[in-house]
């Protein structure tokens, strides 16, 4: 039993972030932990930047991860990892989907999208974190449906060193949660995420 484990999930509204947070919350609850999941609802979801928090352990109270306390940031979109990097603890891990979604402001030429090198540099040098990126969308399509992108990322998350829940356990919770006809696709997506993360982390 850990006393506290903190996950920050970020991305763009509509990417399945709240579903991912809820799934992880249930997995932690089934493992016997005290759980808090913090989410954003309402207009803020409409293709805007979204952040959700999943915390579990024996001493969790508030629904938000404090700055500098996230063990992992799971980013569904690369620049969103950077937007919330202040939550990462020193030595924490960032798992990012590598598919950028440029905001309208960028298309209109009112802002620029930073390069992957810039993103990596800030995460690793300024915030002393580790970054791994994977093309989760491609893996989801490979599994059979792009909608499973979030499950690919959850699969990858379970490979984080020190992650307190077993991959099998999380997978089982997902299996029981998704509609019957979607079970196979989701299980495949999960495995592809696990495999990709293992390679990237050199496990």
């Amino acid at each position: 039993m850990v006393s506290e484990y903190n996950i920050v999930i970020t991305g763009v509204g509509g990417q399945g972030i709240l579903t991912a947070a809820n799934l992880l919350g249930w997995a932690a609850l089934h493992a016997g932990y005290k759980v808090r999941v913090g989410e954003v609802h309402g207009m803020s979801q409409r293709f805007g930047s979204v952040i959700a928090y999943v915390r579990f352990g024996e001493d969790v109270y508030g629904a938000m991860v404090p700055e500098g306390k996230a063990d992992v940031i799971l980013a569904f979109e690369p620049v969103e990892a950077l937007r919330y990097i202040n939550y990462l603890k020193e030595g924490g891990l960032v798992i990012a989907n590598s598919n950028p979604i440029p905001p309208v402001q960028v298309s209109m030429g009112l802002a620029t999208y930073p390069s992957m090198e810039e993103i990596k540099k800030i995460i690793e040098e300024d915030f002393k974190g580790k970054l791994i990126t994977l093309d989760a969308e491609k893996l989801a399509l490979e599994a059979g449906n792009v909608i499973t992108t979030n499950v690919v990322l959850i699969g990858a998350l379970t490979q984080t060193p020190g992650f307190p829940l077993s991959a099998e356990h999380v997978k089982e919770v997902i299996r029981l949660s998704v509609p019957k006809k979607a079970v196979d696709v989701n299980m495949k997506a999960f495995e592809l995420g696990v495999k990709a993360a293992k390679e990237l982390l050199g496990l």
Binding site: G25, M43, R46, F47, P66, V104, L110, A111
Partner: protein, 645 residues
Amino acid sequence: MAKVTDIVLWDKPGEKVLLLGNHAIARGALEANIAVFAAYPGTPSSELTDTMAAVAEKAGVYMEYSTNEKVAFETALSAAWSGLRAMTAMKHVGLNVAADSFMTVSYMGVEGGFVIMVADDPSMWSSQNEQDTRIFAKFAQVPVLEPSSPHEAKEMTKYAFELSEKFKQMVILRTTTRISHARGDVVLGELPEEIKLGKRKFGKFEKNPERFVDIPAFQRKKHSWVLETIEKMREELAECPFNWIEGKEDAKVGIIAPGLAYSYVKEALTWLGVDDVKVLKLGTPFPVPYRLLEKFFDGLERVLIVEELEPVVEEQVKVWAFDNGIRIPIHGKDYVPRVLEMTTRRAVTAIAKFLGLETPVDFESVDERYKKVSAIVPPRPPSLCPACPHRNTFYAIRKAAGSRAIFPSDIGCYTLGVLPPLKTVDTTIAMGGSIGVAHGLDVALNGVPGEKETNEKKRIIVATIGDSTFFHTGLPALANAIYNRSNVVIVVMDNLVTAMTGDQPNPGTGDTPHGPGKRILIEDVAKALGADFVEVVDPYDIKATYEVMKKAIETEGVSVVVARRVCALHHIGQMRRKGEKWPIYTVNEEKCTGCKICINAYGCPAIYWDAEKKKAKINPLMCWGCGGCAQVCPFGAFEVMKEGE
């Protein structure tokens, strides 16, 4: 992970489940044997309402989506006057709408338990202000309960009904976004037989004009009843199971933490490794039970009050301390910010400063390093969805009215029309405010018929308002504008659903949680009220919409245009569930000249700019196939590529 609506009805006492605070409150209301629930949806309260709608039939509860909070309040109140347990839910600004009835009803009290759930939104995640409902409670002299976790929210809901019945006064259950929209472990309790059987409960109304008629002669006698009752409750609440003192008994320093702030304080103390403090956990920020304060203050040399937003507890504690000759330092808002939401960081920082400690994380250094990040991260505000009909409506309005026109708007997804490139929202205040502001601008800038003088340089005024908002508080404003002979265009953006709060029905859709209600057509209402021009358009036909807007602008008087097309998010969600497909568009690179009209004037989020090729592109995963881009591109560069999903 079962469906929430199933969990909320589970007959499994003792089972531990993960529920959103709002879902937990719904469960609490069912455990309390609620009979009637009425509400207008408002983030962050909506999931409570939606859950009640989903389980109402099975649980034998009458549930309605009312047209606004005042009406909802009155519906639920009448049930409580008839001896039933009843509840209404709203967001903080919703209470402003219900305030007229609310303030008076505190003089009359209730028979059955009446609980008003009010969800505050500190930091304004989806609201226009961050008012503190506890002040409203104090204003009306009704008690307010404030949970510190989702589980406590459920338990408190039950308690609130009991308290309300015991003192015959309504009770506010106040949450904030971080309770309403936080999931936590909740232990299910017993469901009453009537709920399990789905038996609808009916009440009995006993006439008593002296109590239920608010003429001054009756009401004068009752103001003192209100004040006596709240003092009796203050006494009783010293035994309230949601108030307690914990920590070191002989500590010299004390911390008072109401509601959710208690969670942050607990976390901060663990994090700081501090244990020689006494904590007063308060579930009832108004009225603060003085008897508990007596016990708590015993032996203390300094006290800190950690509360979110306004110093509601702080003021009561300070007044009590002064009256009782207690002269130790009592801190609060001098250490804890009064604006924006509480966070663990804020609690840690305040407590560390109060105790003269270092914070365990050097937040300032995090901020310093983050500065660089915020400089290079592009903003990503929410935007109208791909295929959103509102985008087309705004686009047509702007083209027809020109950028010199003024565009008052309202509260809903369409408020996002303020952002570039559409920029067709100039003012918003509150639900229904657009029409009132439009009329006021016409009076101020143009002058109305019948007046001796009118302004030569008239401005065009085009107001936008959603379907649900139109019924919420748009109606009286429309009557006013027509009656006073305004010259404005009012565009009702009817997407056939209350989209922003999660697709609830409204009179314009005609659906109710209990089956079909009677549908009210906006155009019929506008005609019946006497609007000078009324027309319905499909915003997916941009040209036709533009033509109608032109005509509406040219017509003297109040023009009402109903732009009707179902919300894209709602529609795509339904198609997905049914496994249906929709067309996906693509850019024909040969035809695309790189003029950027689709990006700089229209702005569908599925369209982005390929800087290398200098052409527009479509993200196929985001295109919902409305064909709007094909209509705005002067070079015909957008084509259907294939079916999606």
